[in-house]
Each structure stands twice: as structure tokens, then as C-alpha cells.
């Protein structure tokens, strides 16, 4: 029932994202309109994929560091991506894919650095060190970006910052295809880690007694979640709140078992981002709001309502 509702909701969100837009396209022209075919449909699908990637990444990281505040961008990836993007613009790297590639590489570099720092205490990633390393690496990268921005002619680089705030205007069939090829591997890794993640919620020692290879699971989950985030930030910048709030909503309704939570976070993230982007495109048309603002405006009240109901039901 819950599952059918979630699938129905994602289809509704997808339909709304295709039907609604700043230009009014009559329903009967929907199939033939180049605007719908080349802009709206890929943008809606990219919203589903990016929102899904962020939702799953958030669910994985929250379990990994056992901290409800964990968010895909907490671990320094946004700082690394930002430094990549700002560097690409400052070095005048041109080419249609220079910016997303530079951001992706920046995010990967931050991921590698945080991962290495997380291993200082041995083969087991220490969640506390991981969090600390993420925040430190992120701040370091942000400081370098800010230095570059403040020393360069401001205009272009301020626009780079705008890009980083997130948005789906770079959507095309090419980006959708790239994501479709890229996403399955990290997603499958996370789904396969569902059972050990459940065990790890009991604590490292009990999990190990019950057969989980804690050190290996941690490394895998960290890398897979970070790879999801790095792809998301490369195609759409830093879109906040999806990865933070969607897993919590999932836990409130579906419980803590990761076998359900991971697919639910994927669809939930996709729904939230598709609905938010539809609003971002249409509310102030022809202008557009940064989608990260809308995800917060929708996600936070939705979370508050659910939290009240949940706490109320337990009391």
C-alpha cells in the first residue's frame, strides 16, 4: 500500500514536471513539442535521478556515521566540486563539458582526501574522524575557492557560485544518459550493503558478532555514497535538503531497515526534486528560482508535519 502510493506519487511528480512549465504547451501537442521533448522530459528525468542519488547517498551516510545530521555534502564534496568549478573558470578552460568535469574531479579529489584521512587510525574508517575530515577538507577547498574568486574579475566567478547553488538547467538527454550508465554501480553496492548497515546500527561489536565485516562495509558505503554525490554535483550543483530530509521521512514511514529505506530514499528524493524543480521553473516564470531554495521550502515543513505525527503516535 505504502509502496504503491510512493510509486504513484513519483509518476504524478514526473507527469507534472512534463506538463507544467513557463511556456504553456497544450496537452495534445505535448508529444510533438520540441520544448517538451528536448528540455522538459530530460529535465524531469534528471530531477528523478539526481534527487534519487542524493536521497540514497544521504541514507547511506547517515547510517555510516550514525549521525542524523549527515548530508551528502557534509563530507567536503561540495567544497571540492566548487574548487574544481572555480578553477576551471579561472583557468579559462572552455568546452561544453569543462565545468561539470572539473566539478566532478574536484569532488572525487575531496572524497579521496577525506577517505585517506579517515583511515589514519587503521583499516576501519572512524566515523568521527570521517566527519571531521569532511568538514576540514570542505572548508579548506572553500577557502581556496574564495581566494581565487576575490582575486579575479568578479563577474564570471560569481556566476560559478550561482551554478554551485544548484539547479537542473543543464539537463539534456546526454546528461540523463550519462547518469543512467553511471548510477547503477554505486546504487547496487548500497543495496547490497543493506543488511550489514542494519547490523551496524546495533554497534560495531554486535555487528561483527553477527557476521558483518564492519571495516569493509564502511569503506564501501562511504565510496558508493560519495560517488553518487559527486555525479549529482557535477550535473546539477549543490542541491541541499534532499539528502538530509528524505531518508528521515523514509525512516518515519518505512522504518529503519535499509532494504526498504534505500529504494524509498531513491524515489522520495526523486519526487521531492521533481516537484521542487517544477515549482522553481513555474512560480516566477519566465524567471527561475534556485531549486535548492524550493527543496528546503517543501522538504522542511513536510518533515515537521511527519515528525509531529510520528512523535504523537508514540506518546
Amino acid at each position: 500500500m505504502k509502496n504503491a502510493g510512493l510509486v504513484a506519487l513519483s509518476l504524478i511528480a514526473l507527469a507534472l514536471a512534463v506538463i507544467l512549465g513557463p511556456t504553456s504547451v497544450p496537452l495534445r501537442d505535448l508529444i510533438h513539442s520540441p520544448i517538451v521533448r528536448d528540455l522538459r522530459v530530460p529535465r524531469a528525468l534528471l530531477g528523478l535521478l539526481v534527487g534519487g542519488a542524493l536521497g540514497v547517498s544521504g541514507a547511506g551516510l547517515q547510517a555510516l556515521v550514525r549521525n542524523p545530521l549527515a548530508d551528502p555534502f557534509l563530507m567536503g564534496l561540495s567544497g571540492g566540486a566548487g574548487l574544481g568549478a572555480v578553477g576551471a573558470i579561472a583557468l579559462h578552460l572552455s568546452g561544453p563539458w569543462a565545468l561539470p568535469l572539473a566539478a566532478f574531479l574536484g569532488a572525487l579529489a575531496a572524497m579521496a582526501l577525506v577517505y585517506r584521512l579517515g583511515l589514519v587510525a587503521g583499516a576501519t574508517l572512524d566515523p568521527r574522524i570521517l566527519l571531521l575530515a569532511g568538514v576540514v577538507v570542505g572548508s579548506f577547498a572553500a577557502a581556496i575557492s574564495t581566494a581565487i574568486v576575490s582575486l579575479s574579475e568578479a563577474e564570471q566567478l560569481r556566476n560559478a557560485m550561482l551554478w554551485l547553488w544548484g539547479g537542473l538547467s543543464g539537463a539534456s538527454w546526454t546528461t540523463v544518459l550519462v547518469m543512467l550508465i553511471y548510477l547503477p554501480v554505486p546504487l547496487v553496492i548500497l543495496v547490497a550493503s543493506a543488511r550489514p548497515l542494519d547490523l551496524m546500527a546495533l554497534g560495531d561489536e554486535p555487528a561483527a558478532y553477527l557476521g558483518a565485516d564492519v571495516a569493509r562495509v564502511r569503506r564501501r558505503v562511504y565510496l558508493a555514497a560519495s560517488l553518487l554525490t559527486a555525479a549529482a554535483v557535477a550535473v546539477s550543483g549543490v542541491i541541499g535538503f534532499v539528502g538530509l530530509i528524505v531518508p528521515h521521512i523514509g525512516r518515519l514511514i518505512w522504518g529503519h531497515r535499509h532494504r526498504a529505506l534505500i529504494p524509498v530514499s531513491f524515489l522520495g528524493g526523486g519526487i521531492l526534486l521533481m516537484l521542487s524543480d517544477t515549482l522553481a521553473r513555474t512560480m516566477v516564470a519566465p524567471r527561475e528560482l534556485p531549486v535548492g531554495i524550493v527543496t528546503a521550502l517543501i522538504g522542511v515543513p513536510a518533515f515537521a508535519v511527519l515528525l509531529r505525527r510520528w512523535v504523537g503516535a508514540r506518546a
Binding site: D38, L39, P96, A98, L162, S169, G170, P286, E288
Partner: protein, 278 residues
């Protein structure tokens, strides 16, 4: 130069109201001027006050003579020590919230400052008069102002093409009705398809650029080579017919990057570009 350092309180000889609404009084023509905006540097040189400019920003590169002036740093949130070290009797700042502190601190240092907001052609005209008055080049300032005022009072040229001026591609940012680029287009016969937006520039959805279907995409471009901007090769931009057809106009940054006393030259160049691409 003998009077340059003397700052005894006396009844000001000139008094103007600047674009922040402050009254600025000088006891004589400003002889040592620091200009903290490329637009005001250009204007100072245009009214003939170039030799009086003793400091500029890194980005003040026009006219070529300005390059000989020492750099005092950036224009927004400026380095006041470097500014004060030039012993200016007038500092020209751009009107921006990030200059608020600098203006107060200059007041405390006893250095006169004037705040200008050059966004539209009428602003350039008003500021040409104002800077002409303060630097003792009233006649030149007035004649530039009259030229610009008549230019902006001209009726719109018959629209020869519909244009979207793209300043950034992701998210797409276009020039709206509140920009001098919109004014220049109106005079050159290039109708801005986003004229209805009151802002100088705004983030819009790519879909609205595609559906408003401009004949040309214009970009302000500093590179001399008129190569295709890289966004034009991105698949989502191919949904805009003008991009697909390669109808891209390059407006050179030195002439179109900011409102300037060379607006008439810019209008003529714009019109030529429209003709050349047809």
C-alpha cells in the same frame, strides 16, 4: 600642485549631490582623484580629467592612457590604506552595499568621496556633468551629458531583429529591461525578448529562451576571436533555434561591458553587427 594638500575648512566652491543622495562640497577643483570603478575612470578621462587621476582599480583598463595610472586595488570594498597613500582630494566609488564601510571610513579620514551609480545611459550623462563640475572640466562634462541625453531620448529604431542577450549559461542569465544593453539594443534595432523583465539581468529558464525564440543570441565577449561560445555546443541549448542555426552575435566587452560615454559608438557597432549577420 601647491594647493593640493591644503584642506582648511572653508565654504565649498562646488557642491553636488551624488547618486547616494549625499552632498559633496569641494573648495576647489579636485586635482588628485582616485577612481574605484572602471566606468568612472573612463568617464574621468572622457571629460579631460585623465591627468588628475592618481589611482585606479585593477580592472580600469580603458582608455589605454589609464594603464599608466597606479593601481590601488579593487573597486568594491577597497584597500583604504592604498587609497589614502595617494593623498587624493576626491575618491570616486561605485554605489554598492559593499562600499558602505569604505565611504564612512573615508569621511572619518577627512577624504572627500563621491558615490556614482552608472547603470543606464541617463546615469552616465548625469555623472559626466557631476565629474566635470568636480574636476574643473564643466564644459566637456556638459557636452558629453547632452550627447548622451539626446541619444537616450531618441525614439526606438525600427526593430530589425529579436535578440536575447545571454550573460551566463548555467543557470541561464539574460539581460532584462533595466540594463543599458537593453537601451543600446532599442536604439540599434535589436529588440530584447526579455525587455519585460524590469531587472538589469535575471536568471530565466532555458525553456523561456527557447519559446520566446529570438532571431539572435548575443553574448558580451572579451575575446577578439568570434568563436562560438561553449554553451552553444551543449545539447540542451540546441533546443533554442537561434543557437542551432548559429545565429550568435559577439558584442565586444570593451565597448559593451559597461555603460560609457561611447554609447553612440556602441549603438552603431550593434547595428552593424545585426546587418553583418543577415
Amino acid at each position: 600642485m601647491a594647493c593640493a594638500g591644503s584642506r582648511k575648512p572653508s565654504t565649498p566652491k562646488f557642491s553636488v549631490v551624488d547618486d547616494a543622495g549625499r552632498t559633496v562640497g569641494l573648495s576647489g577643483s579636485a586635482l588628485r582623484v582616485v577612481s574605484l570603478a572602471p566606468s568612472s575612470t573612463e568617464l574621468l578621462f572622457a571629460v579631460g580629467a585623465g591627468p588628475q587621476v592618481v589611482g585606479r582599480t585593477t580592472w580600469c583598463r580603458y582608455p589605454a592612457a589609464a594603464l599608466a595610472v597606479p593601481v590601488v586595488g579593487d573597486g568594491l570594498d577597497p584597500n583604504l590604506e592604498a587609497v589614502a597613500a595617494t593623498h587624493p582630494d576626491l575618491v570616486v566609488l561605485y554605489r554598492s552595499p559593499s562600499n558602505g564601510t569604505a565611504i564612512t571610513q573615508l569621511d572619518q579620514l577627512g577624504i572627500k568621496s563621491v558615490v556614482l551609480r552608472q547603470d543606464l545611459l541617463v546615469d552616465v550623462a548625469r555623472d559626466a556633468r557631476l565629474l566635470g563640475t568636480l574636476t574643473g572640466h564643466q564644459v566637456a562634462g556638459d557636452s558629453i551629458a547632452r550627447l548622451l541625453d539626446s541619444l537616450s531620448a531618441l525614439p526606438a529604431a525600427a526593430a530589425r531583429a529579436r535578440v536575447a542577450i545571454v550573460v551566463w549559461d548555467n543557470p541561464p542569465i539574460v539581460i532584462g529591461g533595466g540594463s543599458f544593453l537593453d537601451e543600446l539594443g532599442r536604439l540599434a534595432g535589436a529588440q530584447n525578448v526579455f525587455h519585460d523583465l524590469p531587472q538589469a539581468s535575471a536568471t530565466v529558464s532555458l525553456e523561456s529562451i527557447a519559446s520566446r525564440n529570438p532571431d539572435f543570441i548575443a553574448v558580451v565577449d572579451d575575446s577578439s576571436a568570434s568563436n562560438t561560445p561553449s554553451f552553444a555546443r551543449r545539447p540542451e541549448w540546441r533546443a533554442v533555434p537561434a543557437v542551432r542555426a548559429g545565429h550568435i552575435i559577439h558584442l565586444p566587452g570593451t565597448l559593451f561591458g559597461r555603460p560609457s560615454p561611447r554609447a553612440a559608438e556602441a549603438v552603431a557597432a550593434y547595428a552593424r553587427l545585426l546587418n553583418g549577420t543577415k
